[in-house]
Each structure stands twice: as structure tokens, then as C-alpha cells.
């Protein structure tokens, strides 16, 4: 499905608004939309809402062989998916430009800035290391996917706990969460992306553009930073002309935003930790906004089965006694017919078009002749394969085409050296 194009008047309306420092949702130029961070019951599962944009991240890990040139380092693998749920223009499994761009940005923001300690993920040098995999799913696209994805990914990584391992000799045991508490990853710093969109040849800029604003922008500048005011990645995209001063100004704004968001993530992590410690409920089921009119929750329901049980028995009983049912022909099992050693047939209705059953219609005399003939052919072949090639299959065609021959015949040959042969298949084709 293609994206609905933006009309010219809509475009002009948006741009005019931006010129007058007004945004569609009433935000100021440098405002972020509301950010909501929720964690699932699994470790490393995190949903981030940035306004209406929604992103789900799941961190998982497995033991793999390390890369040859880095035998003592674990692997951080990032994969961002644009789910077709997020926007009608996203097709599953397509490598679009946007997807490549987001994936590379995420990789550079998290992996190249070394946000987690990959050396602590080594189990046996050169043999087994942990591969930490971050799957980011975009669930609803309302602009600024990059910021939402980076928040979800880093929050997921900070929340994640990998199973503990023990090494005895060359035996590596992975402990289940019941045996030993899983261990968190060691996070060096938390890089977070901040996006700036530029309008009217770079005269105006907006922080955290929504989907509409993204569609009229000239270009985008993404700055990834951590709260220590270290820049982890910068990327400009789209055909914009930036001035150095603009870049420096953006980096200043970004540092403020990043420290706010970092605090928010820490708070969310702290809340989740507390909830888990107290044994209270956590997970998405608990973060459902019950007060909303579109939400309904129901406590577990009991199912009364006292009377229904009789019903089900009745069903089994009733149908078992019904022998007149058209489908149940219990008790009458037809016995199979051996057509050749290794080829057996059951069923007595119509023949298939391949010709395997058609010999029934032939004369018995012919049958016997053939039997004798084939007995010689068969012996040497039996050991290898059960398929016998019949040499004189031309006759069969004749048989089928002449109704006379097929009239008087009731006795079926019980055994008959016959099997599907390639030659026959070919011969039969003109009949179809």
C-alpha cells in the first residue's frame, strides 16, 4: 500500500506554522513529546512511547563462536524492523532506504560508541562468547523513529540480565534463573539520539519532529550523546546545507535533552527494580491504562463445567452408536491389492489418470501372457528396485480407446507386476 501523498495546502499550512513558531500539537520548538517507558516481565523487554510513536525492544543472548579477529570480545548485534503495523507503506522483508539508515545509525550510536563492555561477555576465549542481540520493532510510526529506537534499545540493554555461566575444565554450564541469579550487562554509558529537522533552507529547526513535520522537512540532523556531554555520533541526512554554528547550537540543545531523557530512563529502571524486589506485579499487563474508555480488564473467570460435561459425553456416545452416518464406515476395511512387490493399492472407486489401474480392463489372456513375459525381466531387477519398466505399453492405449475390449470382464487380477514407469507416464500424456 502506498503512503497517501501530502497535499500542497497541507504542506504550506505546516510550513507557515513553523515560520510562526507554531507546531501542530502545540509544542514549542525545542519540546519533546511525552516519553513513556514500560518494561515487560521478561528481562530486556521495553516499550517506549514517544508521543504516538511506539517502539518495542527485546534483548536476548546466546552463546556463539567469537569473530576471528576479536577472540576475546562478545558480540552486540542490533536489528531494527519496520513492522508493517507501523505504517501502511512498510512492507515486510524489504530493505528500504529508511531501514538501512536507521539500522546503521543505531549500530553507530550503540556499537561504535562501545556502550557495553563486550570483553566481559567472553566465556572461553576464542571459543564461546555471548552474542547480545537487540531486536527493535517499530509498532507505530508517528515520526522520530530514531530517538524512540535508541531510547528503547539502551533501556532494554540496561534492563537485560543474561544467565550466569560456570566453567569446569572445558565444560561450560549455563545456569537457569532458578539456579543462579542472572547477571546484568555492564553498561559504560547511555548514548541517546536527538533529532533535529530543518525547514526552509535551514532557517528553522524543530526538535523531535512528528510524522507530518518529517514529511515537509528539508533534512535531518541526528546527534547521539550521553549525559557526560560526550558526542557518540553525528549524522546529517537529506539535502540540507548546514552551517557550523547550527551544528554547535544543536549539540548544546542535545546535551540538555539527553540528560533529561537519561534521568527518565534511570527512574523507569529504578521503578521496575523496586516492583520486582517487592514481588509486586510488573510487565505490560500492569501498565495498561485502565482508566481509559478503550480499555477493559477482567479478573480470571471461572468456567462452570458441571452440566456441559454430560453434553460432551453425549456427543461421543451418540455418534458412536450412529452407524448410518455417511462418513463413518466403521468395521468395513477394504483389503489392499498387491500390484507388484512393493506396490500396493487400496480403494475401489475411480482410477487415476496416470494409468496405474487401467490394466484391469484388459483381457485375462493378455494378462497371463504378460505375466510370463515379465517374470523374466523382473528377476534381475528385483534386488535393486521394485519399479518395473514395461516394454509393450502401447497396447494399453489401444485398449482404453476401444470400448469393445472393456466389456466383459469381472475378475480382477489379484497380483500383477505393475508399477508406475516413466515410459508409461510419457505415453499417456497425449490422452489428457
Amino acid at each position: 500500500m502506498r503512503e497517501t501523498p501530502l497535499s500542497n495546502c497541507e504542506r504550506q499550512f505546516l510550513l507557515k506554522g513553523i515560520e510562526e513558531k507554531k507546531r501542530l500539537d502545540g509544542r514549542q520548538t525545542y519540546d519533546y513529546r511525552n516519553i513513556k517507558i514500560a518494561f515487560g516481565t521478561d528481562y530486556g523487554c521495553c516499550i517506549v512511547d514517544l508521543g504516538k510513536t511506539r517502539v518495542l525492544a527485546q534483548v536476548s543472548c546466546e552463546l556463539v563462536a567469537p569473530k576471528e579477529n576479536r577472540p576475546t570480545e562478545g558480540i552486540l548485534f542490533l536489528s531494527l524492523e519496520l513492522s508493517p503495523m507501523a505504517s501502511p507503506s512498510f512492507e515486510p522483508g524489504r530493505q528500504s532506504e529508511l531501514l538501512v539508515k536507521l539500522n546503521r545509525l543505531l549500530e553507530r550510536c550503540l556499537r561504535n560508541s562501545k556502550c557495553i563492555d563486550t570483553e566481559s561477555l567472553c566465556v572461553v576465549s576464542g571459543e564461546k562468547v555471548w552474542q547480545v542481540r537487540v531486536d527493535v520493532h517499530v509498532l507505530n510510526h508517528d515520526g522520530n523513529l530514531m530517538d524512540a529506537a535508541s531510547i528503547a534499545a539502551i533501556a532494554g540493554l540496561s534492563h537485560f540480565r543474561r544467565p550466569d555461566v560456570g566453567i569446569q575444565g572445558d565444560q561450560v554450564t549455563v545456569y537457569s534463573p532458578e539456579e543462579r541469579d542472572p547477571v546484568p550487562l555492564s553498561i559504560y554509558h547511555m548514548p541517546i539520539c536527538v533529532s533535529f529537522s530543518f525547514y526552509l533552507q535551514g532557517t528553522y529547526l524543530l526538535v523531535d519532529p512528528c510524522e507530518r513535520e518529517e514529511r515537509v522537512m528539508d533534512g535531518l540532523l541526528v546527534i547521539a550523546m550521553n549525559k557526560h556531554r560526550e558526542i557518540c555520533s553525528i549524522q546529517s541526512s537529506g539535502g540540507i546545507m548546514l552551517l557550523k554554528e547550527q551544528v554547535l547550537r544543536c549539540s548544546k540543545i542535545a546535551s540538555v535533552k539527553v540528560s533529561e531523557i537519561t534521568d527518565l530512563i534511570s527512574k523507569a529502571l529504578e521503578n521496575d527494580r523496586r516492583a520486582r524486589k517487592e514481588g509486586g506485579r510488573c510487565g505490560f499487563a500492569e501498565s495498561m491504562p485502565v482508566e481509559r474508555i478503550t480499555v477493559l480488564k477482567s479478573d480470571g473467570a471461572q468456567i462452570e463445567m458441571s452440566d456441559a460435561e454430560v453434553g460432551s459425553e453425549a456427543v461421543t456416545m451418540a455418534t458412536e452408536s450412529q452407524s448410518a452416518e455417511p462418513l463413518s464406515e466403521v468395521g468395513r476395511v477394504p483389503s489392499p491389492v498387491v500390484r507388484a512387490p512393493g506396490a500396493v493399492q487400496v480403494g475401489e472407486c475411480l482410477q487415476n489418470a496416470w494409468g496405474l489401474g487401467e490394466e484391469e480392463d484388459e483381457d485375462d489372456e493378455e494378462e497371463e501372457e504378460r505375466l510370463e513375459m515379465q517374470e523374466d525381466n523382473q528377476r534381475p531387477m528385483k534386488s535393486k528396485s521394485e519399479v518395473v519398466v514395461i516394454s509393450d505399453s502401447e497396447e494399453e492405449e489401444v485398449v482404453i480407446l476401444h470400448p469393445k475390449k472393456t466389456q466383459v470382464k469381472d475378475s480382477k487380477p489379484e497380483t500383477k507386476p505393475e508399477a508406475p514407469s516413466k515410459k508409461k507416464k510419457k505415453k499417456k500424456q497425449p490422452l489428457h
Binding site: V315, G342, S385
Partner: protein
């Protein structure tokens, strides 16, 4: 021409047993082609009203099922099954591998269903389509659910060496009821499997294959499948052809084993069925299991006696 030949034969059979009336045959031959193309659904309905089907079968009747085993000598086990025109060939190859980490005394069974473009114009070349993938998953589920072979039997040395059985089922001609044919083919091929004996040499720690000594697999259960389609939300027919499948409103496959236990009741959506109707289908499936067990036993017997 083919049609004509078949119908004539049906006509002849009628004298023997069936209630196939003369009227039907004339009707079929003269008007069939046009009516069938223009209103395929009506065409089928007019038969179902009379409790029979365009190819002369009753509602609960299977097509002729033919089984041939051991026809592929390069495979460790093989079987060719035809249900009517539907033809499926299954070849099983065993390979040696190290057992899975989480279950060191198990082997693997890897089923795969292939629907190549040659079997029907419905299928395109390239990556397997949804139907092929769903069928592969169905076969994997049956193997899992019915415990047709105990996976422990495939282990040679705990944590070190085991068999991987690659069961490749390929459809050569698609005329409906793929799953039944696949299950029969798989079961017969597994019964046909002869694996060489393998042992681990204690000194060298290497596997030694003894091709002279062959052993057969221990088949624990004998599951068979019976497929049904539903017409017009109420009429249930067994063993559908490709055309019946495409016109039906729902499909269902029941898998039972020789102890009459169900291994699978697979109904991927479609119109709903009541418990009673399901029960009918299950009863038919149970009978079918007997037929097929007999079929497989006979075929194995026939090979043995001729040796």
C-alpha cells in the same frame, strides 16, 4: 478424452455396485464441460445433492491409494504414494551429526515438504510458498505429537554422535489432499529405512560406519491422516481433489494412530463445525487408519516374500 474414458468406466462399475444412474452420465458428458467451467460451485452442488461427487465417489470415499516403497535406491528409505492423481514421493537420508546441546541423547528428524512448480500451475518457482511451509510445519508437528520414532533411538553416542533423518517429501502431481499423501509417504518411507551400523572407535574417537550391517528403525506409532473439506457450511466430504479444495469453505485434517488416539486435529480456520460433525470425521479417520496400516503391511510383506 480422459474424462470420457473415466466416465465410461464409472458407467460400467455402476452395474456392479454403485448408484450412478444413466442420467448422470449423459448429463455429465454432454453438458459437463460448459457447466463445469461456468459455474464450478453449482456443478459440484448438483452432485452433492445426490450424495455423490463428480468423479463418482460417495462423500466418505477415498480415491484409490497406491503405495510403492524402496523405489529410490540412493536414499536410505523411500516411498511413493498416489491418492488418485495426487502423487507424493518421500526420500529419507540419514546423516551423522552431533546431538543438540539441550538434549544430548536425542537425534533429529527434519521433515520438508516441497511443492515444485511442476506439480501444479498453482505453485511458482522460488522460495517455498505459504502452503509448502505450512505443510512442512504440519509434518514436523505430527512427528513431534505422535512420537512416530523415539528420538532417543537416533542417538549413537550420548552427546557425541546421532543420526539426522532428512525426510524430504516432494509432490509430483497436485490434485488435492496433499497432507494425507505426505503422512502415508513419510510413514512408509520410515518403515523402509535401513541405516548402516555406526560405532565410535574408542581409540581414535572417530565414527566407523559398517555398511554391511543394516538396521531398521523402530517405528513406535503409526499415524495416518484423513483430510476433509466442508461444502456450503454443512456437507463434509473426505479426500478432496484440488478443485474441491478450492471451492470448499473449510478444510480439516485428522491424524490418528493405531490405538485410535488423535495426534492432530488440524483445522486452519474456515467455517465452523459442531462437535458431532467432528466426531463423524474422527470415526472415518479411524477406519482409514486401518486401511492404511493394512496397505503398508501388505506392501512390506510383498517386498519380503519376493526377496
Amino acid at each position: 478424452m480422459k474424462l470420457y474414458a473415466n466416465h465410461r468406466k464409472n458407467n460400467k462399475k455402476k452395474k456392479k455396485k454403485k448408484k450412478f444412474t444413466q442420467v448422470h452420465v449423459v448429463y455429465q458428458i454432454s453438458m459437463a464441460a460448459g457447466f463445469k467451467t461456468a459455474e464450478p460451485l453449482e456443478y459440484h452442488r448438483s452432485f452433492l445433492k445426490e450424495n455423490c461427487r463428480p468423479d463418482g465417489r460417495e462423500l466418505g470415499e477415498f480415491r484409490i491409494t497406491t503405495l510403492n516403497i524402496g523405489s529410490i535406491s540412493t536414499a536410505h528409505g523411500s516411498a511413493l504414494v498416489k491418492i488418485g492423481n495426487t502423487t507424493v514421493i518421500c526420500g529419507i537420508k540419514g546423516e551423522l551429526a552431533s546431538p543438540p546441546n539441550d538434549a544430548p541423547n536425542n537425534g533429529y528428524i527434519v521433515p520438508n515438504v516441497d511443492l515444485p512448480p511442476l506439480c501444479s500451475s498453482k505453485f511458482r518457482p522460488g522460495a517455498p510458498g505459504e502452503q509448502a511451509q505450512a505443510a512442512s510445519q504440519f509434518m514436523a508437528d505430527i512427528i513431534e505429537s505422535s512420537e512416530i520414532i523415539l528420538k532417543e533411538d537416533l542417538c549413537i553416542e550420548k552427546g557425541k554422535l546421532c543420526w539426522v533423518l532428512y525426510c524430504d517429501m516432494m509432490c509430483l502431481d497436485y490434485d488435492g489432499n496433499l497432507l494425507d499423501a505426505c503422512v502415508i509417504a513419510l510413514l512408509a518411507a520410515l518403515k523402509n529405512v535401513q541405516l548402516p551400523e555406526v560405532s565410535i572407535n574408542k581409540d581414535t574417537d572417530l565414527a566407523e560406519v559398517n555398511t554391511d550391517k543394516k538396521r531398521r528403525l523402530n517405528i513406535a506409532k503409526h499415524p495416518t491422516a484423513s483430510s476433509f473439506v466442508v461444502f456450503d457450511d454443512s456437507i463434509v466430504i473426505v479426500d478432496p481433489t484440488a478443485e474441491e479444495e478450492s471451492l470448499s469453505t473449510a478444510m480439516m485434517t485428522v491424524v490418528t494412530d493405531e490405538e485410535d488416539r488423535l495426534c492432530m486435529l488440524h483445522k486452519p480456520g474456515g467455517t465452523s463445525l459442531s462437535g458431532e460433525k467432528l466426531q463423524d470425521c474422527i470415526s472415518r479417520a479411524v477406519t482409514r487408519n486401518r486401511e492404511i496400516s493394512k496397505l503398508i503391511n501388505t506392501v512390506i510383506q510383498s517386498v519380503k516374500t519376493h526377496k
